[in-house]
Symmetry: C2
Subunit: 680 residues, 2 copies
Amino acid sequence: MFVTLDKLFEPEKVAVVGASRQEGKTGHEVFDNLLHDFEGEVVPVNPKAEEVHGVKAEDEIPEGTDLAVIVVPAKIVPEVIYDCGKKDVEAAIVISAGFSETGKEQLEEHIVHKAEQNDIKLLGPNVLGVINTKNSMNASFASKIPEKGDIAFMSQSGAFCTAILDYAKAEHIGFNNFVSLGNKAMLNEVDLLKYWRNTDTGTILSYTEGIENGREFIEEAKKTSKDTPIVMVKSGRTSKGGHAASSHTGSIAGSYQAYKAAFRKTGIIEAESNRELLEFGRAFDYQPLPEGDNVAILTNAGGPGVITTDEISERGLELAELEMSTKRSLRDVLPEESEPVNPLDVIGDAGHQRYKDALEHVLADENVDSVIVILTPQANTEIKKTAKTVVKASRNTDKTVLASFMGEQDVQKGIDILEKEEVPDFQDPMDAVKTLKAMRNYREFLERGETFKQFEYDKEKADKAIDNIRDYEFKENLLEAYGFDLALTSIAESPLDAQEAAANVGYPVVLKVNSPEIKHKTDIGGVKTGLETKKEVKEAFHEIVNNVHLNASASQLEGVQVQEQLDGLEIALGMKRDPQFGPMIMVGLGGIYIEVLRDVSFGIAPITEEEAEKMIDELQAHELFEAARGQKHNLEPVKDAIIKLGDLALEHDSIQEIDLNPAILKDKNFYVADIVIETK
Amino acid sequence: MFVTLDKLFEPEKVAVVGASRQEGKTGHEVFDNLLHDFEGEVVPVNPKAEEVHGVKAEDEIPEGTDLAVIVVPAKIVPEVIYDCGKKDVEAAIVISAGFSETGKEQLEEHIVHKAEQNDIKLLGPNVLGVINTKNSMNASFASKIPEKGDIAFMSQSGAFCTAILDYAKAEHIGFNNFVSLGNKAMLNEVDLLKYWRNTDTGTILSYTEGIENGREFIEEAKKTSKDTPIVMVKSGRTSKGGHAASSHTGSIAGSYQAYKAAFRKTGIIEAESNRELLEFGRAFDYQPLPEGDNVAILTNAGGPGVITTDEISERGLELAELEMSTKRSLRDVLPEESEPVNPLDVIGDAGHQRYKDALEHVLADENVDSVIVILTPQANTEIKKTAKTVVKASRNTDKTVLASFMGEQDVQKGIDILEKEEVPDFQDPMDAVKTLKAMRNYREFLERGETFKQFEYDKEKADKAIDNIRDYEFKENLLEAYGFDLALTSIAESPLDAQEAAANVGYPVVLKVNSPEIKHKTDIGGVKTGLETKKEVKEAFHEIVNNVHLNASASQLEGVQVQEQLDGLEIALGMKRDPQFGPMIMVGLGGIYIEVLRDVSFGIAPITEEEAEKMIDELQAHELFEAARGQKHNLEPVKDAIIKLGDLALEHDSIQEIDLNPAILKDKNFYVADIVIETK
């Protein structure tokens, strides 16, 4: 279903239900704001008033109303929605609070039900409102309307809206739509993403505490962000923050790892603070994406050039190597003391002309993809003229130009020019580098392919295995059905059995306790490795049985696994079903390191080849996966295993968690050596 | 020697040598700046002028001059210094450029030599100058003088000074001294640290590209920071940045790891950007240090409260748990919808009175050590009154109070009040959290003990070992002389030898190539582990010899080491002599992980018990050191080994690098299993 929100943003006739004559009341502010500038018709609805602000008040919603803005006490809202239905109103903004956020879930469900019955698009309840600068509609109780522009903003927190509006005004950031989402009883992020990708919105900014319909969100966000960058602050990242979020909005916070995986999958750029949200948003909106990672720094002060260089290195970007021809041209325009290298120090006495000449040459250099122009206010610095120079240079290039005019009082006149003319300025050049990194990540998303690798699975074998999943053999069967290789394993009931099994799988062998209840076998002394002889196998068998009795007496012992000992890189693979986003696949270094180093990365199924590769790349230990001290590994089987595990989880809802730890990568082979599966 | 810089900062008579009548010239600006407001006498020295700015010009430096400010061309500076000497001038600021920064090292050495001969304290050359607000002296070519205060600032970059001055003015940050260090030919960070700790300076801020006299710096910085917090931006952190730094100022950048270790040792707080430098500096100067880690958040908006909570968790601080009595008191002053928990949401319609009541109760709570007050500009928000409320509350408490008035235009009137009245305001509440973390780190430094553990070393054995250090046996001897335990090792010349040695050390054994030239034995197939039988030992011997011939034919093979195989936690210890700071001791996870995960930490010798402990704590893998999957380790021997390695390096200058990798921690024992030593 495609939701059109035209009547929410571009109504011709708006009724303010609860418009009040009493100053300071929300119903007064909202009506007042709408009266200002809005191009359409505005009608106050208030049975107790003759007129509001000189406009004749109606007793009920008039015919022909497109949008109802509702500011009445919560308990009256259902009645108003009912009235909306009668009058064929297509959209409603419920500003009123007192619903699920205060425990009144039923009342909220009630109004949603009524809205659905009447085909009304309902925003809220508990919102600040909606601003559309295109028709100058301020259907909110925010006193300010931002400058016109093509950034769209949505926020689950109304107060976040007011703070952002205040920043935006000071920094000349233009918006088209400004939406407070409130309790998201009906309309939510997904609806707005769909709407905005069909408008001329240039960049979407969002403050989000939680997403409820994760899979649909991924689908729609991915579609949107292929054209329009989405920058998002996700709050509730930590468990403490998550707790505060759920008590604040009643939304169930998905784990932050799942969000990070969802952001990577959809190309959403994560901002860590409100400052970053605006800084990233401005840069995406004002400037072209850099075509590569090579950054040039142009500065009238060495020190800031050095710390910016540090940051470029640390963020994984590159300091551009200037071409010989550029260096020669720079020689001609720079004073003798200035060395024509990157970072390019045009020296403290540089006026606007020297900035202009240097900037032109640097931007013409083929090795340069983006430029950060740094200015410190020194004796001969021409702040305003240099700002204009930077603006002009930015207009004449398709490369990314960012600025950092360092200081606050004197440099403000330059910053104003930069901001009005769409060259993002950063108080600190470090933030310019962070922003370039964010732009790079988005470019990578746009360039990244989406290859869905198809494997043949044995569905019948899998289904049968699921029915008997408690037994280790059937866990093995399930993985075999999905094309996994397994370490050779037999179950032995007695020392004699074990010796026979060892002879079959071949020495050296590993013995492990076999019990569905024991998850961490090593902890209780349930694993013996490097067994070379019959005697050692027998002793190990007895020791394991003994340790189980001592340390896990409540667990049912179902024999001992006898397994070939494989020497290679120990990898951990896993799956956890996230309540919002579905199966999350995890990969990391196996063995004891996984718990201590927590060097793991996550992806949401189905996983493409490119995502599987990126998951491995993101690991701190990724070099180990490729080669460590001469051992070469072929990563293909690990990538395949990640993809297969995702498919397995998508096709078998009953499985909640899977642990394959360790799985051994040995040359080009990848063997699962232990399996834990949790079902619901 | 105690350097007194009184005449530099508090001269009674100042001569400006090169004072110029021509506007725009540095010699004009400096003289003009000094004429304004300065309480002492100012004399222009210019043989070509009758008068400058109405003041009679002198041909040479007049008698009784305390401070000479020199703005003449570089080549004339030596003459001027000579003249200073004749007139008993005690301090000189050489603003003139054109010395070592442009390759003129000799000229620079020349003026230093002249200054030393005449007992002149020389600042520069190549500086912006010095500002002292206490006597209103602006002996610089910066047009601005900051507000009075007790923060001192020094910077290697003059341009950094001008940017900081511009921020400071806008944000009402008060300074006492403002010093541009330039080329640091004579006076440097160490002299200023010594001077400031004997004045009433409250906080010291510094921008540094490199320290030349590392050991003295550590000594003096530690003494200073016990009374006065030092916040420092260190540029040239990465190798790219480091390169830019050394080409910029000609200072040899020490490795960043060494600086980090030096900062920890001295309690210096590192800031990563100019914004952090000012934010940290302001907080240290305005507010008391928090006594503990428990942070309360007071906000009129849920969203910002949640992201601030996230940041508190991520920075390792604690969200304060409010006392029952506080919750009860809050119930009385807050509306029903507001839950009395931390983060405390006083709800969007909070006026200043509600902020006041809530803040009082929260500050009275014994579980609260610091408070971040967040305000977003909503319809009923009383911005100025709330700012005054926060100021008053901060004055009445000895707890740390920080604010984040979110927004930029409307909230500015509140921010102005906060800043003038010394409650630090942060554009982003995340930065308030980072600042609390920095304050916590400084408190930890103040509370940290300094225990120098004394060991008995066998100096004679050590000296003898040093003389023969090329041989593995003597490397072992050296470590034994410093009280290290070694894995039992014999050198075998033949397979038969090896078998005998194996019988002596006890099976299982490890065989390793013995050759001083081969550093990474595993890479060339020079290590065989887990050898259980005579046969395996013989085969391993042959294989190693073979591999050396194949992969390292140029290396001299001096037999094969036969070593007992120790199973335990593999740790890497190391030492590298840093050119600035001397011996740096490294600890990390051993084996192949050290190279890939680079999870290591550094300390500068001599290392105290507390530092050794902190070095281990800082490792990501520190949990592994303590306990992993049931294996318990006693860390004492690792800490001792770190300390001993530091002592060894301090006492033997000829040793440049040491690698003890792996060293095996097994229960309470710590055995070195491999030794690489590089001498100069």
